[in-house]
């Protein structure tokens, strides 16, 4: 056997450090740059968690799910209920008690989002396989209905989702202020990415997902039921959106029924920039979006929203199918 030739395209991997380094002279202060960078990476990791399932759903079955935001909102609202019922744990000064409270909220949010995701796939997405226009309309309709149901259950007003005691505040590194929660969000995001990367690269299910993203007809011709695989990916993707909803809610420290719709735009920017169906591309896209939002929010606040759309346009001019286009698509 000959040695393996590297198939890894490293150029996209350089985008995140290049973007960060380009921002440094504009910001001027290294401490401020570090603070903004950690905030951007945390935001990017949370967006990645929310987006990674959606990109695989599109890659596997060509399904444009504009209702993904409802799972995010559901996760965030489940967290408000769980954490308000665990105030002894969230107000404790002991980190482990805080972690148990947040962990419980995350687990229940994922379970709730997964169950609703299963129903969403069965009753909303399945009847419109292969029909993109109908998918867009019906999934957006599903999200609107979901938001209304959330308003019925939790009310239409903003609900506070404060950080647990030990997760508040910052660590000082020189004059740079690194918020504890943002550092934790980076760690959780890396763990989710590592688990996904391991599953996709080291397990047969992961192999089937990667193959299905490229050529689902051939996967079926090899004897595998891709519909079952797709339902599994949809449910896991919904659960991850629920997890992302908890983290996004804690990041903003409040929750509104439109939280999912608000972040949906960023998620679609991320999966388009990354290459539809590519989780590695989604990670790079999410980190760039997070960094860009924080840098421009500091440097040119009025351009914050426009900056990510401009970033996407620039990436697509360079690589029209995203940074990691999936073969055979």
């Amino acid at each position: 056997m000959v040695n393996m030739k590297s198939s890894l395209d490293i150029k996209p991997l350089l985008l995140v450090p290049v973007l960060a380094l380009l921002a440094l002279p504009l910001i001027g202060s290294v401490d401020t740059w570090l603070t903004l960078s950690v905030a951007g990476l945390a935001m990017g990791m949370i967006i990645f968690i929310m987006a990674s399932g959606l990109t695989l759903v599109f890659g596997l079955m060509d399904v444009l799910n504009f209702g993904h935001g409802v799972f995010i909102a559901l996760g965030a609202f489940v967290a408000t209920s769980v954490m308000s019922g665990m105030t002894d744990w969230t107000q404790s000064q002991e980190l482990w008690r805080n972690v148990v409270a947040v962990g419980t909220a995350m687990a229940l949010a994922m379970v709730a989002a997964s169950i609703i995701g299963l129903a969403f796939e069965r009753f909303i997405v399945r009847p419109v396989y292969g029909q993109h226009l109908k998918q867009i309309l019906i999934t957006m309709g599903g999200m609107i209905i979901g938001e209304e149901i959330i308003k019925v259950i939790w009310g239409p007003l903003q609900i506070a989702l404060p950080l647990p005691e030990a997760m508040r505040g910052s660590l000082l590194w020189g004059d740079a202020s690194l918020e504890k929660y943002r550092l934790m969000a980076v760690v959780v995001g890396l763990l989710v990415f590592a688990l996904q990367a391991w599953t996709l690269s080291r397990t047969k299910v992961g192999l089937l997902i990667r193959a299905g993203v490229q050529d689902r007809e051939m996967v079926e011709s090899l004897g595998y039921k891709i519909r079952r695989l797709f339902v599994g990916v949809f449910v896991v993707g919904s659960g991850l959106a629920g997890l992302g909803g908890v983290m996004w809610g804690l990041y903003q420290q409040n929750v509104v029924p439109q939280i999912g719709a608000q972040v949906n735009v960023l998620i679609f920017i991320v999966i388009i920039m990354g290459g539809l169906g590519s989780t590695g591309g989604a990670l790079i896209g999410a980190l760039m979006v997070g960094l860009m939002a924080n840098y421009t929010g500091f440097l040119f606040p009025k351009l914050a929203l426009f900056s990510n759309i401009a970033l996407m346009a620039a990436i697509l001019l360079w690589r029209p199918q995203g940074v990691y286009p999936v073969a055979n698509r």
Binding site: V2, K5, E217, S221
Partner: protein, 242 residues
């Protein structure tokens, strides 16, 4: 169904959208033989294979495989009856390595280490490129290497029927000869083979039986030897003499 017939298509019609492609195909694939499906472009050969695999559903008629009615079965269920299929575009997963492509086809194996090593050695002997480029991304292989890998992948576990759509298409003569020898080895192992082929000299060296299609119908079925020995029949069916 006669016991020596493995695959039996009776009066199969297939529509793709508004187009009526197959107009009552009758085709029998004998067990343990290599059958060639010949015909000009657009005759309906690929549609016949896709209909057998359930990738396009027959609108009329029946398809029986090994005693099972597979006419309206889903593709994964048909494949699970031990039918391997190599489409015209080879169906290679370009982003995966050769090893990963092979592992996908090995339905009983969860990891590469669980693949049948004796079977792999048999495959390597037929297709040395598969072993040589085992850890390479399949998308980086040459056209001939991809075709070898596609056929090798189809045979990574024992199958009752191997269906290949145009295995010699675009291949260099040396690779075509390698393919011919590989199909002869596979046939000797007992697998039944159905090949769609346009390269008539490739077909002549391999086929036990032959079916010729035109306008969505089988217009001739018989032995390859009989067709080879009858220039007038060749001329009338294929527009050329072998």
């Amino acid at each position: 169904m006669p016991s020596n017939v493995l695959l039996d298509l009776k009066e199969v019609h297939t529509h793709i959208g508004a187009y009526h492609i197959l107009h009552g195909v009758n085709l029998q694939i004998p067990r343990g033989e290599l059958t060639l499906l010949l015909g000009r472009n657009g005759a309906g050969k690929t549609t016949t294979l896709r209909t057998i695999m359930g990738l396009w559903q027959a609108s009329q008629g029946s398809v029986h495989f090994n005693g099972h009615d597979i006419t309206h079965m889903a593709t994964p269920d048909i494949a699970s009856l031990n039918i391997a299929y190599v489409p015209e575009n080879m169906g290679i997963f370009s982003d995966l390595t050769v090893e990963e492509n092979m592992l996908l086809a090995a339905r009983k194996a969860s990891h590469a280490q669980q693949m049948d090593t004796e079977r792999l050695a048999w495959i390597y002997a037929m297709f040395p490129a598969v072993e040589k480029f085992w850890h390479h991304p399949a998308g980086k292989l040459s056209g001939g290497q991809k075709q070898m890998m596609a056929v090798a992948r189809a045979m990574v576990e024992p199958r009752d029927l191997l269906i290949v759509d145009e295995p010699s298409k675009g291949l260099a003569p040396a690779i075509v000869q390698n393919m011919i020898e590989a199909f002869q080895t596979m046939k000797a192992s007992g697998v039944s083979i159905l090949l769609v082929e346009q390269n008539i000299h490739f077909a002549q060296q391999l086929g036990d039986s032959v079916a010729v299609m035109d306008n969505g119908r089988v217009i001739h079925a018989g032995s390859m030897a009989a067709l080879s020995a009858d220039p007038a029949l060749q001329q009338s069916l294929l527009g050329l003499a072998l």
